[in-house]
Each structure stands twice: as C-alpha cells, then as structure tokens.
Symmetry: D2
Subunit: 391 residues, 4 copies
Amino acid sequence: MAIEGSKQQAQGGRIRLGMVGGGHGAFIGAVHRIAARIDDQFELVAGALSSDPARANASAAEIGIAPDRSYGSYEEMAKEEAARPDGIEAVSIVTPNHVHAPAARAFLEAGIHVICDKPMTTTVKEAEELVALVEKTGKLFVLTHNYTGYPMIRQARAMVAAGELGDIRLVQAEYPQDWLTERAELAGSKQAEWRTDPKRSGAGGSIGDIGTHAYNLAAFVSGLETQELLAQLTTFVPGRLLDDDVQILLRYKGGARGMLWASQVAVGNENGLKLRVYGTKGGLEWTQADPNYLWFTRFGEPKQLLTRAGAGAWPQAARVSRIPSGHPEGYLEGFATIYAEAARAIRAARTGAEPEEGTLYPTVRDGLAGMRFIEAAVSSSSADNIWIKLA
Amino acid sequence: MAIEGSKQQAQGGRIRLGMVGGGHGAFIGAVHRIAARIDDQFELVAGALSSDPARANASAAEIGIAPDRSYGSYEEMAKEEAARPDGIEAVSIVTPNHVHAPAARAFLEAGIHVICDKPMTTTVKEAEELVALVEKTGKLFVLTHNYTGYPMIRQARAMVAAGELGDIRLVQAEYPQDWLTERAELAGSKQAEWRTDPKRSGAGGSIGDIGTHAYNLAAFVSGLETQELLAQLTTFVPGRLLDDDVQILLRYKGGARGMLWASQVAVGNENGLKLRVYGTKGGLEWTQADPNYLWFTRFGEPKQLLTRAGAGAWPQAARVSRIPSGHPEGYLEGFATIYAEAARAIRAARTGAEPEEGTLYPTVRDGLAGMRFIEAAVSSSSADNIWIKLA
Amino acid sequence: MAIEGSKQQAQGGRIRLGMVGGGHGAFIGAVHRIAARIDDQFELVAGALSSDPARANASAAEIGIAPDRSYGSYEEMAKEEAARPDGIEAVSIVTPNHVHAPAARAFLEAGIHVICDKPMTTTVKEAEELVALVEKTGKLFVLTHNYTGYPMIRQARAMVAAGELGDIRLVQAEYPQDWLTERAELAGSKQAEWRTDPKRSGAGGSIGDIGTHAYNLAAFVSGLETQELLAQLTTFVPGRLLDDDVQILLRYKGGARGMLWASQVAVGNENGLKLRVYGTKGGLEWTQADPNYLWFTRFGEPKQLLTRAGAGAWPQAARVSRIPSGHPEGYLEGFATIYAEAARAIRAARTGAEPEEGTLYPTVRDGLAGMRFIEAAVSSSSADNIWIKLA
Amino acid sequence: MAIEGSKQQAQGGRIRLGMVGGGHGAFIGAVHRIAARIDDQFELVAGALSSDPARANASAAEIGIAPDRSYGSYEEMAKEEAARPDGIEAVSIVTPNHVHAPAARAFLEAGIHVICDKPMTTTVKEAEELVALVEKTGKLFVLTHNYTGYPMIRQARAMVAAGELGDIRLVQAEYPQDWLTERAELAGSKQAEWRTDPKRSGAGGSIGDIGTHAYNLAAFVSGLETQELLAQLTTFVPGRLLDDDVQILLRYKGGARGMLWASQVAVGNENGLKLRVYGTKGGLEWTQADPNYLWFTRFGEPKQLLTRAGAGAWPQAARVSRIPSGHPEGYLEGFATIYAEAARAIRAARTGAEPEEGTLYPTVRDGLAGMRFIEAAVSSSSADNIWIKLA
C-alpha cells in the first residue's frame, strides 16, 4: 500500500480546483468530487456548476464554494480565475459531451490544467484541435478514463508489458448494461436524456458512453494499437436517436485480433465491463464489478487468482492501492487514482520537475484515439460494416 | 426428477446398438458409451471400432462385444447386422468428421437408425444428401449436439418460447478453449491431429469443432433463425492448416443480433461454452462448466439463480433431471439425455407410435444448418468478411 | 482420464449384483443403479426392492430383473442367491437405516459382498458386531460415503498426505440444506418421513443423514483421527422427533481443531457440503455443488484454482476422472467411482489377488467411526455439551 | 443514491476533528482519515499522532495539521483544544487498544465527542466505566465497527427487522484471515506486534481483533441478544501470547443458535468475514470481500442476488449508497458511512435537534457488548469450554 496522498499534499498545500458542470441532478460531478477528496490532494474552490445560474449558485453553496467563485459560465470562470492570485490551478469538466471541447479550450488558453470526462469531444476534428492546443499551451490534460485507475488493471498492463502473456493474440472486451432497455429518456431520467441526444452526446450513443471505455481499457492493458475495425451499431429501442448496442471486430497492428461488445439493453447487466487478453504464453481476465481480482493463467499451469495487495500483486498495483487485500477497494478509489496521478503531474508542473516515476493517466491523445474509434465505428456501421483503417 | 430410464427399458428390452469408431485412444467413443448406459436404454452389441482391424477387435473384446460382431468396416457391419434377426436397431457414429456421411448413408440404407456426432459432414452438399436420404428412408437421425441435453438449457429454451424474455434482441455465444495454444498436433495428440487436418475435419477447424456447438446452442435456446453472418477466421498458430479462432457477427430473422466467438488458443479456458440471451423483458445467462445454474433477470427485478430441480426449475428441466438440486449433474448426464431422447423415439418407431410428448433432440436438419454455418463463415472470411446470407 | 470401466469388465464379465430396497418412490436406489452402470462393471440381476411384495415385484419388472429373482425379503434373497451357481456376488443395501445391519448380516453370512448406504447402522453396538462379522467372513464391505469418490476430494487427500499443507491445524466442515425447513414429514415426503423417524433412522436426524457425510469427508481428506467432540443438536421445527441442526467442535489427535455444522433448515442451501482444511504451509477449500474445482493456497502465494483433469490435477484425481477438464463431472460420477473401486476389489477377491494399486473406498470401519460420531454427539448434546472422548 | 455529504457540510461548515494515534506506520489511522474525507463532513485540524513527539510532529506536518495543533499527548490535546474557540468538536481514537479507554475519558471529560476504534477497551470494567461516563457527559460516542456501514449489511438488518426471514433460527458468522500463520510479530510487523501483545491488546488476540467484528455484525443484522456462549480459543503458532483462532457456539435469547469462527492462521483467507442468517421463512448470505451483493432466498423460491443500489435494494441500503449499482463500493465507503452517520449526529447535537431519521452507528453500548463477549469467551475457554451467561 503506497498511497497516503497527504504526504504530497504537504508539498505546497492542496491543489486549487474548479469544476464545470456537476450541479444538482448530475451523477458524475459528485463522483469527481469524492475522487478528488479521497487522497486529499485537491481543494474545490470554484465552479460553474450549471448552465442555469440559479441552479449553479445553489449547488455551489451546498458544496461549500464561496459565492464569489460560483460563476454563471465557464468562460467567465476561466477569465476570472486566471486573474486571481489564488485562482484555480486545474479544472474538472464534467458536463455533457458537447461542452467538453469549448470548455477545455477556455481553460487551456487561460493557462489552467484540465481534467476532463470522456468521450473527450463530439467530433474527431475537435479532438485534433484539442491535441494541438494542449501541445501549444503546454498545460496538462487528464482524461478520466477512470477504469485505468483500478490496481489490477495497472497490474494487467504491467504483466503484458513484461511479457508474461507472450505475444498477444486476442483481446475480448465487453461492457453490457441494461438501464436503457426501455425508453428511460422519456421517463424523466436526466442521464438518459442527454446521453441519447445527438446534440449533446455526438454521433455515438452507447459507443461513446461505454464503448470508448472498453476500447480504451483494451488498449491500456494490451499496449496494442488498432489497425482497423468493423462495426455494427444498433438502435434496439424504437424512437431512440442513437445506438444502444455496438458489436465490433478489431484488428491490431502485429496481428492480434479483438472483439468489443457494448450494450445498454442487455437485461441483467449493471456495469458489466470485462476484459480478457490472451497471448502465446498466458491469459488474463478481469471484471469491473469485482475489481480486486485478476485471473491469470500461464499456459499449462493452474489458474491463479491474483488479488490487489495480495501475494501476487505487482508494484504497479501496490503503488495505487490504499488498503490491505481482502478489504475491497472500488470504483471511487479507482477514480481517485486518476486524480492522484493528476496531482503528481500538476505538482511537478509547478516547479518544472518530472512527476514521480510511474505516474500514469489517460491523456488528450487517448481522447483523440477514442474519438477516432467512435467515428470509425459509425462510418463502418453506416457503410454496411466494412473495415475502416485507424492506423 | 423424471428420468428412470429403466422404466422404458422394460418395454421390449434394451435397444440393440452398434458403434462405428471409438476404439483405443478415441475420446468421444467412451463418452457415447457411458451416455448410452446411464439411463439403461441401450445395449452395445456390435462395432466397427477402428479402421485398423486388429485394433478394432482388441477394442471390441475389451468392451464386451462378441468377436463375431466386431467388424472390419462399417460397410460390412451395416450389411451383416441388417441381415441378423437380432441385428442392431441403431448405430452410433463417433469417427472423425469425414467418415460421418458415408457411414450414415450405409446404415440408413440398411434400415438402421443413426446417432451421429457433429459436425454432421464435411460439406453442405453431403449434408443436403443426408437430409434427403433420411427423409427417403424414414429412419431416425439423431445428431449429438450434446449441450442441448443439459436441463437448464432445456429450461432456457422453454422460458424464451414462453415469452419470459419478451422479444429477443441479443444472443451472445462463446466457446473458448486453450488446448491448441501450441502445436499439439505435432506432439502426438490424436485428437489434435485429425481436428486440424482438413482431409478429416473438412474446411473448418475450431469453427467445426466447437463453433458449431455454440451456434447450435444459440439457435436451440433462442428459437431464432439466422439470416446472415459475417465471419473472421484466424489461424494463430504458425503452420496449422485450419482456423483456431473464429469471430462472427450474426443477424437473425426478426431483427435480433448476435456475436459468436470460438477459440482454441484462449489460455486459461478449458471448455468455456457460454450463452447469453437478452430480450425486451428479461435476460438469461448460462455457462457449461457450471451447468446446473441458470441466471435469469426480469428487467427491473433482482437477478435470480435458477437451479436444476430447484425451486425455479420448469418441467422441461425436471423432465431431464435425475437427482435433486445441489447434487450436480454434469456433461455425461447431459449427453445421456440425448441418448434417452433417442431411445424414446426409437421405441416409438418400433410400433409406429408417437414418441412421448416433449421428446426433443437435434436432427439431420440441425446438422445441415451447422454445415451451412461453417461454409458461410469460411466464405465470409475468405472474402474479407462480407455478409453471407443463410436464409 | 483413466477410467474406461469396460476394460475390467472383460476380465470375467460383469459382476452380478443384487439390491435390497430401492423400489418405487425411493431416491437413493436409482442413484445406486446409475452409479453401478456408469463404468459397466455390474449387472443388476436380483432384488428385494421393497418390503411390500407387490411393489417389490412391480419395481423389479420395471428395471428388468427377472421375476424369479425378485424376492419378497432380503433373507429369502440371501438364501436363494447363495444357492444359485449364477447367484449374485455382491448386494447393494439402500434401505432406511434400521434395515442396514440385519440385511448386511444376512448377505455376509451367505458369503456375498456388501455395498451399503450410510449411516451404517442405528447403534454403535450393531456397528461393532458388523465389523466383527466382516472380519470373520472375509467378505468385502463397501460403505457408500459417495463424496469420497469426487476426483478433487481424492486430490485433496493426496495433497494433505504429501505434506503440501504442512501440519494440519484446522478442519472446517459444513453441510447445510433447507429441505426440512418446514414439516415435510407431514406433507407426504417419503424421504422426510423415515429420515425424521427415530425407529428407522436411529438416534440421529440431520447428524446421521448429512453430519456423518461431513465428518467422514473431513477425516478422509485430513487423515486425522478425532480425539473428542462437543456437540449441540437442535430440533428447530416444532413436533419433529430428531435433530434438524447440529453444531460440533472437534479436537483431533495431534492438536488440530475443527468445527462441523450440518443443518436441514438453512434456507437457501440445497446440498451445501463444504470442506476447508488449513495447515502450517497451505490451505484447501472444496464445495460439493461445484466439485470439479479445488482451491489451493500455499502460504504467501496466490490462490490457485485446481481443476479435475486440468493442469494442476494429481494422478489420484486423474485416476478417477472420466472426461477432460471443463466438462463437469458430477454427483453420479463421484458415486460411480465408489462402485468402480468396489468392482476392483471384488474382481481381485475372485482370484485372491490384490486389487489395483490405489483402490480406495470407505469400509465397515468408517461405518463404525460414523456411528461413534453420532452416538458421541447425541451424548454430548444430552449432557449440556460436554467433551466426549472418541479415541 | 442518497449521499452527497457536502449538503450537510454547508450547514455550518465542516466538523472540526482531531486524531489520537495514526502516525507513520499505522494502518488504521490513514483509513479513518480517508473515511472522514469521503463525504466531506470533517476537517482534520489537530492531532496527537504518536506517543513519540518527533514522530507525532513529522506525521502532523505531512498531513497538513498546523504545528501548534500537533500535540505530544492526548491529555494535552484534550485540554488545549477544549480551551480554543475553534477547538475540535470530535476526536478519532485510532491507537492500540490499551489507549482507547484513557484517551476517550480525557476527551469526553473535556466535552468533546469521541469516535473510537474497536475493541473499545481492554477490560469489561473499563468499558462499563466508559458507558457511565458517556451517559454522564452526554457526549456522543461512535465505535467504528465499520462493517455495519456496508449498504447491503444495512439492507440485511432491515430485511430481518421487517420479518422477511421469519423467526431467526441460525446465525453463522466467520472471519478467517491468514496473515498470522507464521510469527509475523517477530518479523518486524508493527501491526502484528501490538495485536499479539496482551499489554496493548488486552486478553484477546484474534477474538478482539476480528472476532468482535463478526460478533457485532451478527448482532447488528440479526437483532438478537446473546444469552450465553461456549468458546474454544487456540494459539496455534508456538510462542505467541494470545489466541490466533477462536471457535464459539452461541445461544441467543428466543432460541436461535449460532456459530462463530475467527482465525488468523487459515491459509488462503485475506479478510473472509462472512455472515449467514437463516429464519423460518428465508435466508441471507453476505461476504465482506464482495460487499455489494446480498444473497436472499425465500423458502421455496429461487435464490436472489440483491445488489447495492440495484433493483432489489431497500431504502436503508440506498440511503448509504453513493454510486450506481455495478460500480462497486468498498471498504473505505463502508467506513465512511460510519463517519457520515457520526456527522449527522454531531450536527444535530450542535443544536440539540434529533439527527436525521435512520441515523445509525455503533455506540458505547456495542463496545461494552464486545468486551463482555471477549471476556466471556476467554473465561469459557479457560474453564474447558463451559457455557458462560451474557444476559
């Protein structure tokens, strides 16, 4: 167990953080705030929590943001905070997808680091512009593909990189849910409303919401680059405007192949993200609902159950583990690790130092890869499921 | 618990059975013999157990077949047995694939019922001829897609048919193994040798050996007919002549969609056959390695663990169950159910009666469907993964 | 995979078997018959299937026993069969408990080997007399503690014996069921009737029916001898005459300690037999409902999932395995192994040879140990839970 | 999902918290700090983090406690903080056991609420005095039996209370670990050192460290009061001064019975806390390592898998849930719920109001019950395992 965030916190105090989105009724905003608190690296001091000013201010008051730092728009917030001597050093963008890119631009241009939810933008073009802007400004951009923060995912990545599985042949990724089995977007669910609305979500429904998570995780663990994909997107629920199920074949550089399935209509699945990777020498299996376990088999040997912080844990898992094995860490701790890694990078950036060795988080380039994945999948599906090159 | 096979056994004595293949070193022959014994419906009295006559006779002696009924070829056996007043009523064909069709022809033409392993033939053409011959002769043809004999698979089928899942949207089938991760066919494994040899297996490797099982099971449970498929077959192990991995997208009539994955190089998987079916009202999940359990979720309700012969068991499961729940039945009992169903049909055929209500087994038409599946998948894969129509 | 019973079957033909009990409505009789058939070592040729002669004859006819070998009583059967040149070589006694001892006596004295259900008798005195009679007659006595036939239980025993766990410290055994949660004995369940009737079951209810299984299994795997026990027997269901729950503390010779819990009122448990053994170097866990798995942990290493016939299987498991790993074997196969082992012993006895190396089955001494366990537990419970010495 | 702690945080700002113990090398101090942060109710502003002043100050600096509020002793801290206008309102005591009682006394007498780790004291006498002192001072005393904070444990308790299980018959509790399988206390483990030292732990080893957790959880869920117990404590590791394994029989008022097993030498178990409760109508099973699941069976119906925040979640689980089902919450969130409940009570105490309906946490009386449990178990074990009355 390596994390006691407070240690770094002492190095110059907590990082001053702002938030865009995340007011009343939002789900992911509260998750980001808990994640930011767990390792005590951040202090939330400013917010543009809602596009509705009254709601923004009420939300700010509730979570202890001072009235003069509750803003009516992200533009105003970026400008004002950049001008304050005690202004925010970083901002978390937790809005519906279509706001990610313009908000990120505003803060990057104001010299403020960005922590941003996924999918990163609504188009590849926006994503490419964001990559360029990050490079130009030199500010940090952290994309919250939070599943990469799970300790056993870190271990899986390290094991693959170390050759424990040999050459990778197969990557099977899936993310079934069932919450959109019926038309929840007509039944008052805010979450369902914007996620099924092309104006706010972009061209992808389930593929953007959860398909990108599965795709990112597969790449994160396998270390493979996608060469081409073939996709079939389906809208099962009549009247829905975006896909609620996606089936994809993947070809990776070097000859590995993969399948990816994401669905929001698979009854009985809550958040069934699962990743399986098979190579010439071994195989790995991991399930998000039981994240403290990693199944590992060396060809010809019995299957092993590796546990976070247990006997088979690698340093890469232990580094992001907080408590002993057998005491489960969960989703919020995995999410918190993204924030803890961001904090390491931001502290290093304060002085121009290198961040602690091993610091690892999804970047603007992962965001671009995600957008290319969505766009390619939509194209393939529209063209009767042909192969689309990605690299 | 409904099966005590002996009851029917008394109705005219056990059914006289012969076997083609299944001599020394064969795996599946012994399985068929145990399956035939479990419910006490059959008596194995004749065999052409090997194409090597010495081996055939030695094998016959070991398993108690009288020397005068151990034959050097199936042709001879069909002819001689047909001529005996106490000749066999049915034959089990348990050879490599390329012998299935000619052997089946010989026995059907001799007026003997056929129980045959899968895949049924090596080409669609052979399969179509066999369908015609079965219809012409009026003899029974039972294909041992043995997984359809598992009680909870029977229940899954019944639940889908009764509308418990609503309209089916998704069928996810997979069958990963790892035993061909390395080149076992060069290391002395008889099983690996013929299964990776196009002359004996036909055009499909993993797709014929295990892909057909997954495909058949998906159809058996969902009741859906495949409209078209798109397949990617891969040979991962250098030098191997047939596919050892197959990834398939399926479109069913009526709009349901499916994915099918079968692999023989997925390290850590023994016989990981798994089926998941999702509809507008509910979802089902079943795993072959733990076959006494069926997971069922009604949309918006907690997941239920249905157990064979337990509180949630339906009559269709109980009918093919032998012992109380919590005492696991396994692979051999599921296989035995195919034989028990065959016995019911054969006894009925003795007198021209209808078999017991509910009698259910895979037929020559399922065998033809399997061959069409293999052929379409090979075609799709060869043509850079285009959709191939099946209906 | 080592068993193809038929091999030995050829060595002098199948063993001629009779059965006492097991007529209509009996559960365990049909189980014994399937178990005897699976490896093709036995031929059931005679029976005294019920104490009701009409039912006995009807049952015999149904399962193919010739009318002249369907007997009205076991005494008659023992006498007549002993006199026939083709008389039975062994008998299976599958009656309620109170008949075990007198029936066993009749056949042993007639020179016929005995396969007998558990608990062996209804009193320790009867059990001791049976031990003496077996020794005097030199006939074989096989007690069907069937769970000892599971391959992974064989492996667990072998691993403990080989020192893989170091010195054993703890043995945790449990067998929860729920079928007697309400008063099934008043609702027409034959099984419940005799199992809750002291006249037919003896002094123990759940302790005799399932507690003895757990106790026997703990001893079989751990190799330990019980020094003393302390028991609390409870009858939770009002009006029931025997215990339906039992909680026991165990002290083994050498310092190991154990707990044993058996219950027939633990709602949600079907046949939840579970055994856990912990030593100075390692630990093992096994569950009857999922019998193909054995969890093994070496102290300080990751947990391993050993599978029947898989990479981590020992010869002692492979020897009693029929099919490849990943294809589950179940309760009937485990039971069949007891019959296969009995067949090896009986064939050896035909010629006075030693049975095949490794032949292993529960004996009359295990039956005596079981009766001492029941009697000690009843005594301890009656005396307000004091320690009772067993060795 | 009901918790967004920040809401209450706005009601007068965060609660000012101090900490006794929890300096470098301590495990549980960091856990308490994370738990206190998750729902943003507390601000840690003072500490006596170590009995070694240099270590105390260094630890304080690291976690952001101002130097003038880092104290060399808890006595000094209680006195000084009570005198400050911005002094702490509550203190967390996270030291080895022998310090709990004197530290708690100091703060209670200074008018400061106490959050204290378990076991509460080292003797029943101390515990009784603490109960009296809490009653006299009227200050709050929250005992961190953290497992009671798990949402599905809250649901289990609510289901039992609502009669879903009928009358409770059986309570099976266990808590196996393996970290003391060898003599870790000689190998430099601080945790092992004080936990196996009677001077710092009191008369119980494993029974105090983990047995009390299992005992408390059984009572919390079942709502039953223990009438008497019979215990066998064992020290398996030679040279160890306290028990490392405990086996207990329990008799509850009203006739229910229970077994409790806790062990620190059960190889392969990390933190295997498990609770099973069975009644006349239903049964519940829960495992700490997979805390988001609760298995529930109504007698005669299929088993249900209830999930935190899923379809079968009750308001009592939802109330303490932060994120959607399928995204696992873990140990830290359960622990945080104890702090969130404490915050509700402390805020209410500020104004003399009643805390929010449903506010629930272990109190000083639970601490006394735990000490009586330890003392009775030690007595029973010393007296050759006789029944000791508790009520």
